[in-house]
């Protein structure tokens, strides 16, 4: 990180080496500003050194401590800087504790400088000084240098003034830029009653911006504080004297924990505001557009505010009052309502309203002898930003212990309403229950045989052991996790698919006579071929050629879609050419036809010749069957 302005960085880059900025924490803009100012001083000094106006000698180590301000208000924070010129300790010095001051290490920075061949270094350690009380403080500064020697700097003094609220006159004059006001909603409250105290921040109209608001002290003895929040959409503007203030309301929930006179405050806070810059001269009209303002940290304080806390009245206090204070409504349900002895019934009580919901408890139920009551569970849902409104749902599981139970009894919840100063009791009617004796339906025989327990009475012990081992099984994987079982489930699907395909093909065949004929002829030819081979083997020439001629007719008739008996050698050529038959096929066909004709007059006698004819026929048939009709 270059801490020099760009023009100086360029000029010094060969002479001054900024080694590093080791900053473990966030340094505020004020610290940064001071840091830069100091750097300019250093840079000026170094420039002089570079010009030869200072002697080129190494400086002895020195150690100084300084505060950015000598006086601060309680709630503000000062910055302590320890500077080492020359040898510096490796670790931040441990400062002695000062009662009333908090000293927190912020970070460090170091620079190695090389000026005219002379090396030197500057190391600074920064601490935040936070006072916890007002007064005069002296901070002793002792450190150990790099050589282990103890070195000390001049102690620094800090004056912390007590935060105080501005006077009424100052407030009413409109001179205060920012002030706080603390107010109770009413002068009397009850112990345990949650109230919302208003803490208003007044910002004068010339405040251009503000931020970093931080409450530094919220003393409220005798109260239990809640979470402080800003009341949404309730900012307003008020006129004080001749100035207009913006009021930012904060809500401080407080609950009185004891009776008597209680006091809250003074609350203290810090904030940063941006005010118009005072030293920029020029036309005021122009300034209002171009004045960027100056930031200012302001300490704020309120006056203390008191309230009287009253004890809860003893008169008319309900017996089942458990300390709930506020204003509530209640709904209660129980279910299921038709159960067996020992079965769980869920009782759900929902209490809604404003008050300390976390403190709400169910009344004592130890008198409910007929129920086993398990510890309840509670869930609180907050519906407002202050955490004072919402609903608490308490659920408890109860089990009826005998069949004589007929209802979940009437349920009451009492609370004290501080608004009217009276106790109120909310009552939910009894819930009818139907409770059956345990195991009455499936187990009368068992009870009669082995336990002799009277019917409709809850069992006093477990049922006895079984004498028969029964069928033994091995610990097996469930069927649904066995691959064989899962694979088996595909069988009916496959069977159905096979049937479906078969049906489709059968329907196809039934609706296509030509296909049917094609298959019949194919079957006939297949059978005929075996007959031909048989006739050839037996050298039965007449039967062979009669069969051959018939097969040729059938096959050609099927291909040409005409009656087989109508097929002659003369018809074949022209029509087969149209189907795309090859000349070789046609030639073979002619030859076969001629052989058939010749056989009537000069039958072929040898077996080999017949076998050769059968083979030729088989080949021709194959070629014919491949033609697309």
């Amino acid at each position: 990180m270059n801490i020099f302005p760009p023009e100086l960085s360029y000029f010094l880059k060969r002479k001054i080496v900024v080694k590093k900025l080791k900053n473990g924490h966030i340094i505020s803009w004020l610290h940064l500003k001071r840091f830069r100012l100091r750097k300019f001083t250093i840079v000026g000094f170094l420039l002089l050194a570079a010009l030869g106006l200072t002697a080129p000698v190494a400086r002895a180590a020195s150690f100084t401590a300084s505060l950015d301000r000598d006086t601060i208000a309680l709630g503000e924070r000062a910055t302590l800087t320890l500077r080492f010129d020359g040898d510096a300790p490796q670790n931040p010095p441990q400062l002695s504790a000062v009662p009333g001051l908090g000293l927190g290490y912020v970070g460090n920075q170091s620079m190695n400088l090389s000026i005219n061949g002379v090396d030197s270094s500057i190391v600074t350690y920064t601490y935040a000084v936070t006072p916890t009380k007002s007064g005069e403080f002296t901070i002793p500064v002792v450190a150990t240098d790099a050589n282990g020697n103890s070195i000390s700097a001049t102690p620094v003094k800090l004056t912390v003034t007590a935060a105080s609220a501005p006077t009424a006159a100052a407030v009413n004059s409109g001179n205060e830029v920012v002030f706080l006001k603390l107010s109770f909603p009413k002068p009397k409250i009850y112990v345990g009653e949650p109230i919302v105290v208003r803490l208003d921040i007044y910002l004068r109209d010339d405040v251009q911006n503000f931020g970093n608001f931080q409450l530094t002290g919220t003393p409220a003895d005798g109260f239990k504080p809640g979470k402080i929040v800003e009341l949404q959409n309730q900012r307003r503007r008020v006129q004080v004297a001749n100035r207009v203030y913006t009021v930012i309301p904060l809500a401080v929930p407080l609950t009185a924990v004891r009776n008597g006179a209680l006091t809250a405050g003074p609350f203290t806070a810090n904030m940063v505001v941006v005010l118009p810059s005072q030293n920029e001269g020029g036309d005021p009209f122009i300034q209002q557009f171009f004045n960027q303002g100056q930031q200012k940290q302001i300490s704020l304080a309120t006056d203390a505010a008191g309230v009287e806390s009253l004890p809860l009245p003893e008169a008319n206090k309900p017996a089942n009052f458990t300390g709930a204070i506020g204003n509530f409504t209640m709904t209660a349900t129980a279910g299921p309502t038709n159960v067996t002895v020992g079965d769980p019934v869920t009782v759900r009580v929902q209490i809604s309203g404003r008050g300390e919901l976390d403190a709400i408890q169910l009344p004592d139920q130890s008198s409910l002898q007929n129920f086993k009551i398990f510890p309840p569970t509670a869930k609180t849902e907050i519906t407002d930003q202050l955490g004072l409104e919402g609903q608490k749902t308490i659920e408890e599981i109860v089990t009826p212990q005998n069949a004589d139970v007929h209802e979940w009894p009437q349920f009451s919840f009492s609370f004290f309403n501080p608004d009217d100063g009276k106790y109120h009791t909310l009552t939910q009617a009894a819930v009818p229950l139907t409770v059956k004796a345990a195991g009455t339906s499936p187990m009368p025989m068992i009870a009669a045989n082995k336990t002799s327990a009277p019917e409709n009475q809850s069992p006093q012990d477990i049922l006895p052991i079984k004498e028969n081992l029964g069928s033994l099984t091995q610990n097996k994987i469930p069927l649904v996790a066995q691959p064989i079982f899962l694979a088996a489930q595909s069988l009916p699907v496959l069977a159905f698919l096979a049937a479906f395909i078969w049906r489709q093909r059968a329907d196809n065949l039934a609706n296509n006579p030509r296909l049917r004929r094609q298959r019949a002829v194919a079957q006939l030819v297949a059978g005929g071929l075996s007959d031909l081979n048989k006739f050839a083997a037996e050298n039965k020439s007449n039967e062979f050629f009669a069969m051959l001629f018939r097969l040729l007719q059938e096959q050609l008739g099927e291909r040409l879609d005409c009656p087989a008996t109508a097929i002659t050698e003369a018809d074949v050529d022209q029509r087969l050419i149209l189907l795309g038959a090859s000349p070789a096929t046609l030639e073979s066909l002619r030859e076969l036809f001629q052989l058939c004709n010749q056989a009537r007059y000069a039958p072929i006698q040898t077996r080999q010749e017949l076998v050769a004819v059968a083979a030729k026929f088989k080949k021709v048939v194959g070629e014919l069957q491949s033609l697309k009709p």
Partner: protein, 246 residues
């Protein structure tokens, strides 16, 4: 062939011998129980179970012996395992309910549908679904082979479709319950559930012997559980017995 026959004989006789041993041990454990030696009886039942043999009666008796020995968690675990095999056993359900009543803390509540489908074992559900599935596709196949029968089979087919879908849904729920909704039963006297799976983690809640907790996750020797009150924590596996869902 002779070798195969010999092997089958060996297996058959070995099975008989094994069953005879189990029956003998079972009777011995029953005698110990009758004499009031519940811890010894429980130990004997558990030894039988460690051999891999199991039966509803064996688990039932083991649960009884554990309960009489004061081990509510082990008793509930045994009863729950028996319930997986024989979910409609009235004696078993009565004893399980009785022991559950002795357990401290909020009980784990099962949904109505979980109770309902829990009346069938997972295998029974699988077989039932398979039967309806096969019947449905058999009917569909018959309708393809004999279209003339289709009008007569229409009602039966519709019924089979509904039954197959319903039984399939039941089986899916059963399987989801069995494999995904594991239950951890606390078997130590009192155990502290931790906010993380290590001994140094903060305490989340305390569970007592016999508490049944829903298992949410597993990590090494730890199981993440939620109790009946909705509190979540991690328990060491040494302190619980993890069982499949019903």
């Amino acid at each position: 062939m002779k070798n195969l026959f010999a092997s089958l004989c060996v297996l058959l006789f070995a099975g008989n011998i094994f069953a005879a041993d189990v029956a003998t041990d079972f009777s011995g454990a029953n005698e110990l129980y009758a004499k009031g030696k519940f811890a010894e009886a429980a130990s004997t039942y558990e030894k039988i179970l460690q051999t891999g043999a199991t039966s509803p009666a064996l688990l039932f008796n083991c649960g009884n012996a554990e309960f009489k020995s004061g081990h509510l968690g082990k008793a509930i675990a045994a009863y729950r395992q028996a319930e997986l095999i024989s979910p409609r056993d009235a004696e078993l359900r009565a004893n399980l309910a009785f022991v559950r009543n002795q357990v401290q803390g909020a009980a784990l509540h099962e949904n109505r549908w979980q109770n309902w489908i829990g009346s069938l074992t997972l295998n029974e559900g699988a077989l039932l679904a398979a039967v309806f599935f096969w019947a449905l596709f058999a009917l569909l196949a018959v309708r393809q082979i004999r279209p003339a029968l289709a009008p007569k089979l229409r009602s039966a087919t519709q019924l089979a479709v509904v039954a197959a879908i319903f039984s399939g849904a039941v089986l899916a729920l059963q399987a989801a319950n069995h494999f995904n909704l594991a239950v951890a039963v606390v078997t130590s006297a009192e155990t502290t559930a931790r906010s993380g799976p290590f001994d140094e983690a903060q305490s989340a809640f305390t569970a007592h012997d016999g508490a049944e907790l829903q298992v949410l996750d597993r990590h090494d020797d730890w199981v993440q559980v939620v109790n009946g009150a909705g509190k979540i924590g991690w328990l060491s596996r040494k302190q619980v017995e993890v069982l499949p869902g019903a």
